[in-house]
């Protein structure tokens, strides 16, 4: 079978990179942006295959958060996820390899996913609704996430989850489009630990080798 280069794909890649860059430019974070503690933060995605829940986490994540509980509307956050670091646990190499494939994340062309949140409104004590965008595989989709916030020894902890429709991003193409095998909805849960800026004197050298906040 002849493999034809898909011009549409190239255009999408360019648009995606452009849009991603534009988002990053628009969300220049103020200087009081605090980096997340990557080692103590988690981004987990749960998808369902044949209605069996499968969970994997992204081992390399990084990001910055600006959040003042008194002014949630000024909240901003950027979270970058290294897609090739998706790990489903031991013995799932065939899944992990498949996920990097062009029918899925296509990590060769789109190595990162970027969540940008801008503006939150309080729903209750320490509960917020945040709106933002997810740039993934050359597409950008609006998102709403419900976030719970905790303050612990000066650091802020943000927990929440957001449902993602994988087909909206072209994740799982070709024979994998069938949502009865792998469901369209994927739940992404995150727990971000943001040490207070006074505690984080300098960017911590991260032993897990996360992508640094200085984006490549």
């Amino acid at each position: 079978m002849l493999i034809q280069p898909d011009p549409l794909r190239k255009i999408r890649a360019f648009v995606g990179a452009f849009a991603g860059g534009l988002i990053l430019l628009c969300t220049t974070l103020p200087t009081n942006a605090a980096p997340i503690d990557s080692a103590r933060s988690r981004v987990v995605a749960t998808f369902r295959q044949m209605n069996v829940p499968i969970e994997g986490n992204f081992k390399r994540i990084s990001g910055d958060v600006v959040f003042d509980a008194a002014h949630p509307q000024d909240a901003k956050a950027v979270l970058e996820v290294d897609l090739a670091s998706f790990d489903l646990g031991p013995g799932t190499e065939d899944y992990a390899q498949e996920v990097r494939h062009k029918d899925w994340f296509d990590t060769a062309r789109f190595p990162r996913a970027t969540f940008t949140l801008s503006g939150a409104r309080a729903l209750g004590p320490d509960r917020f609704e945040a709106r933002g965008k997810l740039a993934l595989k050359g597409r950008v989709v609006d998102l709403v996430a419900t976030i719970a916030r905790q303050v612990d020894a000066g650091a802020q902890k943000f927990e929440g989850q957001v449902p993602i429709r994988r087909l909206a991003f072209g994740i799982g193409e070709g024979e994998w489009r069938d949502p009865s095998v792998v469901a369209d909805e994927v739940i992404v849960r995150f727990q971000l630990l943001v040490p207070s800026s006074s505690a984080a004197g300098s960017h911590n050298a991260n032993p897990s080798g996360s992508v640094s906040s200085g984006r490549k």
Partner: protein, 191 residues
Amino acid sequence: MDPQPDPPVRRVDRYGIPAIGLHWGMAVLVVGGWFVGRWMTDLPFSPLKLKVYSWHKWNGVLVFALLFVRLVVRWLQPPPASEPMPRWQTRLAQAAHILLYLLLALVPLSGWLYSSAAGFTTVWFGVWPLPDLVPKDAALKVLFRSFHGGFTYVLGVLVALHVLAAFKHHVFDRDRVLARMVPGLKPRQSR
């Protein structure tokens, strides 16, 4: 005075219809599951592989559930007395049948344990999630996978012997052993 309750009905000459139905129904499921199980592990990673793995597990859970039904049926309607044959053959048959029942429990159970240890919850027919018998664990996964494979292999050998023995009784001994399990089948007449 309380009269003695009637003993369960016992067909003298053949198995009851529920027992026959369960026997052949489960035979189809077990043989099908056995071959599919051997074949599916070599499939390339694809939606088909995920579907077949799920169907295989649904089949296994069904066999396991039917096993309990079968035991109840056997209790309510015990099988006919053994056909006349040398006593060592009767003993051998009894041992083989007990082993078959045991394996019909051990094969699905080991599969369930394997799936749990691998971190894949079994969702029966895609709607009913079964409890994970053990937590996700790489070492347990390897252990239960070998149990499942080993028990499956023994079951395969035993089923093959079971089938061969049934034919031996019907074709060579010309007795009622097979006829008892097949409605409408009569033992071959001696010349």
